[in-house]
Amino acid sequence: MSENFAETSLDLVVIGAGPAGLAAAIAARETGISSMLVLERESEPGGILRQCIHNGFGLHRFKEELTGPEYAQRDIDRARELAIPMECGTTVLSVSRDRVITCVSPVSGFRRIRAKAVVLAMGCRERPRGALCTPGTRCAGIYSAGTAQRFVNLEGWMPGRRVVILGSGDIGLIMARRMTLQGAKVLACVEIMPYSSGLNRNIVQCLEDYGIPLYLSHTVTDIRGRERLTGVTVAKVDENRNPIPGTGIDFDCDTLLLSCGLIPENELSQGAGVLLSPATSGAVVSERLETSVPGIFACGNVLHVHDLVDHVSAESTRAGQAAASYIRNGPAPAASRPVLDGSGVRGTVPQQVSTSPEEDVSFMFRPSAVYRNAAAVAVCGGRELARKKAMIFTPGEMAVLTVKKEAFESLPDGEITVSIEQPEGR
């Protein structure tokens, strides 16, 4: 063997030191795992929260509203307290099916690490313009909202002066306010669906507060500007989301921010042979957050795109505990009961459940449309396992339906279906 690099063995490797990775690492450490390492590609831990300088984080978990950096700092401080080994400025290059990780950093060089368990916590990326096939020129001034957020909040640079935002997801809404506060003129927020995918509070405090018009059922149909953006055309769309001719409105702008969806970043996962779900673009996992590859766990945005970081922390805590249990006790019995998306539901996680879960199981999913005064229901073999009513279910807000562990006792074989029941005759 002529290998000229270090190879180490550890119990646990956590990939990503954002809220997911930190929570998983902390949870594993708290059960007593010490042979572990958290790898983070940025120069500092905190993940995407570092650039989310707005508040609104942590209401469930800490009972107070924090800004992104403050929320992250809680976990960073705890991780430091627990002396969790962490290396920043390190990029993981590959993860193999037998949990061998290769990574590289300027300081530590190239390394190979054999791990008993791996937690995938790489987060997600933004959908680029190409995914929308928006026609027009390919000029400067077109950014995903997150890239603009990085420029403004972490690098201290304004990307432009007159802004149109495509997509009313939370990132787009937050950036509408952000750019306005920092002195830019935000001309419009454009959303192709008939409803916004962002939180209601953000519609109020990011658009309405600043008089920024929201164009629902509209999309950008043309982009102009040879070198730098000079303008876009926004048109109404029909029920099939196709632009309606003759409805175009032209905006003079030099900046277009795209907030058109987040995609879990699973390139490393695929390399490890982890099975992905087309509904979430994340791993297929059991209630213990274990993927199809034994010993590899996934949590946070890499598993499915969350709306609330509190849910990320809770989910990732479970993943860290499960990874620790795997390290100490070996594999748990296979989770063989499939979980299916019923009507009105998309991307239910976990997609598989054990015969006898050790704790209550929280199913998280996205409603596929807006439902008012409806109920989320989990059913197996004709038996109702849980029901939760809500005033509103909307695709912009991940829903949670918890099934008590007792409900799994003497449950017949067969799949669990999670669906939304609409009220009758209203």
């Binding site: 290998e3 290059l93 950093s105 300081v107 190239f110 313009r129 020129t137 640079w157 002195g183 730098r228």
Partner: protein, 501 residues
């Protein structure tokens, strides 16, 4: 001059050279490299900010076999000879090249007749290995093909290349051997006296040369008409594309052409050398020679035609769209050689498809012609092209470990999607004709060409560019001119107040 000038040979008068080439696309850079083997001073101007700024960066990347061009035309002659030079040229210049083969598919008897015609034409042009095969044989080679495919022309020698990476390498080689590259200079006037040419630019400078060579792509006819009374007429024929994400299992391993028919040349589907999938192009004439916008109609046309070849064609994994302009001379063939009736002027214009394939052969002939005209001597010593290090993304674990140990900048992954390191980005900026823009870095290294399309890496690339070039961050551009990425620091912007509207 206020713009960066690329050359390894310091000149006393930057505005004079023996030879002035206008156009740093595939034709101009190939020609510059050929001429750099002679004892002659060469300057290359381009109106764009970089090599390959025009059609060279926006085409299908196919090295055609040469069955398509009409026998007896310059297109046929140069295509076959140029294609034959590609493999060794790319090996020498460390440019990705793959002889993946091609199929031209047909659906009925009319198509079958066309395929037979292409076969005959190809043989006449000197193309080897062609054969007409059945639909079943075609599907055995390419199972994702439309089940209705009834026949196909098999073209084993067809190949794919990265056209702009080749142009960059040609330019680097030329610059290493003394050629001067000057960008953002648009030639707008050309006058001649007994000493030679005065080429005036839109920026008000004048470049002098004994010999002037027009390789100006979309601007070729206009430039020709400035100096010749025999007017040429050019149409700018735009072609739009989809570029799909890299996949370990692409649906096709060969380039798939559709049968040219009354409807036109047809939309192709092709793997790229980097493992993406290309769909396109359409063909529409546009009045503005700088109009490379994509359109809803054009993209929709490309997709619907692509479905004829690949019924499952979907844009689900599309990562970007782009368009390029073919420089189509109305007479239909390349115009190459001495400009008739104009001493000291040469040209290689109308270099539309199969221009990329033809470029090495065009350059060889044209350089020889210029050398004869100027009675040039070959140089005794050429600076050999330094072998390009293997890209980090292709290295083994061992190679990666060595690379990082020697240069820690290899340990800093800047582009996560394509695994491009800081070391490679700095290298791309320091090359003889190095990147000066974000897109210049992108095309040399692939940083920003992946599925997030620069969302993650572009702030970092801009920062590195600023450090390496000394250009302040707010002046870094995406692709030259006014395409600045940023407008101001957050605090200055806020202080600026109402001026922003």
């Amino acid at each position: 001059m206020n713009q960066a000038v690329f050359s390894s040979v310091p000149e006393s008068d930057p505005f004079f050279s023996d030879v002035l080439i206008v156009g740093a696309g595939i034709t101009g850079t190939a020609l510059a490299r050929e001429l750099s083997r002679y004892e002659v001073s060469v300057t290359v101007l381009d109106r764009g900010p970089d090599v390959a700024a025009g059609a060279t960066k926006a085409n299908s990347g196919i090295v055609h076999a040469g069955y398509d061009a009409a026998p007896g035309t310059k297109k046929a002659y140069y295509n076959v000879r140029g294609a034959a030079m590609y493999e060794s040229l790319c090996a020498e210049l460390c440019v990705p090249f793959r002889r993946c083969g091609a199929l031209v598919i047909g659906f009925d008897a009319a198509d079958a007749a066309v395929l037979e015609d292409l076969l005959a034409r190809g043989r006449r042009n000197g193309v080897e290995g062609l054969s007409v095969i059945s639909g079943e044989e075609a599907r055995a080679m390419e199972p994702a093909l439309n089940p209705d495919v009834a026949c196909a022309l098999s073209v084993p020698c067809s190949a794919i290349v990265s056209p702009y990476e080749l142009a960059f390498a040609l330019a680097d080689d030329a610059a290493l051997n003394g050629v001067r590259f000057v960008f953002s200079r648009c030639a707008v006037s050309a006058g001649r006296d007994e000493n030679g040419w005065d080429i005036g630019t839109a920026s008000g400078e004048t470049f002098r040369a004994k010999v002037f060579i027009n390789c100006a792509g979309a601007g070729g006819a206009d430039l020709h008409n400035l100096i010749s009374s025999e007017r040429l007429s050019m149409t700018h024929r735009r072609g739009q594309y989809y570029l799909l994400d890299r996949m370990t299992d692409l649906p096709f391993s060969r380039t798939i052409f559709q049968c040219p028919s009354a409807l036109g040349k047809g939309v192709l589907i092709s793997p790229t050398v980097h493992g993406n999938l290309l769909l396109g192009p359409n063909a529409e004439d546009v009045p503005d020679p700088l109009d490379t916008a994509t359109t809803a109609e054009g993209l929709s046309f490309v997709l619907s035609r692509a479905r004829r070849t690949w019924p499952q064609a979907s844009t689900r994994f599309n990562i970007t769209n782009f368009a390029g302009l073919r420089a189509h001379l109305d007479a239909g063939d390349f115009v190459i050689g001495r400009v008739s009736g104009v001493p000291g002027a040469f040209e290689a214009i109308g270099i539309e498809s199969p221009g990329l394939s033809s470029a090495p052969a065009i350059a060889a002939d044209l350089a020889a012609d210029v050398a004869t005209y100027l009675k040039l001597k070959k140089k005794a010593d050429i600076i050999p092209f330094p072998p390009r290090p293997k890209p980090f993304c292709e290295m083994t674990d061992d190679e990666r470990a060595s690379a990082v140990r020697k240069d820690p900048a290899y340990g800093n992954i800047i582009c996560r999607c394509e695994t491009v390191t800081e070391a490679e980005i700095r290298s791309a900026i320091r090359r003889p004709v190095g990147a000066r823009t974000v897109d210049g870095v992108k095309r040399r290294t692939r940083a920003g060409m992946g599925r997030c399309q620069g969302g993650f890496c572009s702030p970092r690339v801009a920062q590195i560019l600023s450090e390496e070039t000394g250009i302040p961050l707010p002046e870094i551009t995406k692709d030259g001119g006014e395409s600045r990425l940023l407008c101001d620091s957050v605090s200055s912007f806020l202080k600026g107040g109402a001026e922003h509207e």
